[in-house]
Amino acid sequence: MKHLLSAGDLSRDEALTVLDTAVRMDEALAGREVKKLPTLRGRTVVNLFFEDSTRTRISFELAAKRLSADVVTFSAKGSSVSKGESLKDTALTLEAMGADAVVCRHAMSGAPHRLAGWVRGSVLNAGDGTHEHPTQALLDAYTMRRRLGRVDGLRVAIVGDVLHSRVARSNVLLLHTLGAEVTLVAPPTLLPVGVAEWPAAVSYDLDATLPKADVVMMLRVQRERMGQAYFPSEREYSRRYGLDRHRMGLLPDDAIVMHPGPMNRGMEIAAEVADDPRRSTIVEQVSNGVSVRMAVLYLLLGGAQ
């Protein structure tokens, strides 16, 4: 692996290697007082965040630091990026500084692909526009495996704003690679034209899907979408596509509820569902994120370049 730009770049074996490696990372740090391994000592990881995302940035930072890499974080705000420097100039600057890996978060789809063409180091897509967020999909798969023992054969419902969701795109690709059956559930306005070609089933009916789901993954729905006529009102959205306690009752007994965060409590997910200790994996997803990102950094940087 040179870069991680799309979850679709991973073969089944590669994806499983990431998940297995994440398990080892977990084991290596379990119960330790000093959560640090010397593995990437001397490597430089640049976190290039053109878009605010405290959660993802901290997760990558922690992952790199636990592997003893030197970590530099560039947030667009306050850096030369906000003063009109182009992505290309930023890339050349990183190149001159000798970054071994660039973790890139960007509001525009494909920005990490462009970056990969301009730098020698590895580029890791930490979320680009409405395109992909491959490490989120990996940590979701990791969470499923920990909770349910497998990904192969799981029935996963991904619910919400699929059209604008990089999490959905990466999950569809990765879960398909790993043998899960994915059903996308959304109002037709929030599904892309062309979704029929995706390796996933499509449904407009959440209630009909839940009884057959081992995993239900709720996507964040931005309130602004209402103004663009994607749905008539918050209330109607949450009535038709929100996961409340009643709907949670439709799930099979051992099914889990996931959310990539940040959540709109009361919109796509009810507070009591998000906080359900038995089904909700939302907090776990965050800690699993660090292990999975350590695994990816190790696999990208842990050998000869």
Partner: protein, 181 residues
């Protein structure tokens, strides 16, 4: 081109000898654990424990110590897959730990193992057992138990085969064909 340094009966004899030596040097293997370094150190550690048990009836706990995350030479090769580290029953705290590997060469694996071991606890003492010592040390490290000392050139490669991982027991000395040409 390859030449056999040890055949299957030789390997068995060497393991027996090391098991005896461990019993001698550890006061009958009291408070002793063996930790195998993947890949081939792990079956060797199991064999040593089994032989110690056969000779003196002593149970020696066996563990696995993956050292990859502690290596300082990762950049020299492609990415290595990680193996599970398995603590021996009872842990390593206050124990005499015998690290087991197949070949002792630069000493870097052992250095990484000492670091990795620190994460498991604080042993009373650490010893090292290897099937083959081929020389060319880059660090001040020596083994307490050596199956066979083999003077080698750096253009040569020592390959250990074990039934558990390779289907048969043997130690081969190979010339690196590409380098020789």
């Amino acid at each position: 081109m390859s030449r056999a340094l040890l055949d299957a009966p030789d390997v068995a004899r060497v393991v027996d000898r090391i098991a005896h030596q461990i019993l001698e040097k550890t006061d009958g293997a009291t408070d002793t654990v063996v930790l195998g370094i993947p890949t081939r150190g792990v079956p060797l550690a199991r064999r040593l424990a089994a032989r110690v048990h056969a000779f003196e009836g002593v149970e020696v706990p066996v563990g696995v110590l993956d050292v990859t995350l502690h290596r300082d030479d990762l950049r020299l090769r492609g990415v290595r897959a990680l193996e599970s580290t398995v603590e021996p029953p009872g842990g390593v705290e206050g124990k005499l730990v015998v690290l087991v590997d197949d070949v002792l060469y630069s000493g870097r694996t052992v250095r990484a193992a000492l670091d990795a071991l620190r994460d498991l606890g604080r042993p009373r003492a650490v010893q090292l057992a290897v099937l083959v010592d081929r020389g060319h040390r880059e660090l001040p490290i020596r083994a307490d138990y050596v199956g066979k000392n083999v003077p080698t050139s750096q253009a040569e490669n020592v390959r250990v085969l074990l039934a558990e991982t390779d289907g048969r027991d043997a130690v081969l000395l190979e010339r690196q064909e590409v380098a020789a040409r």
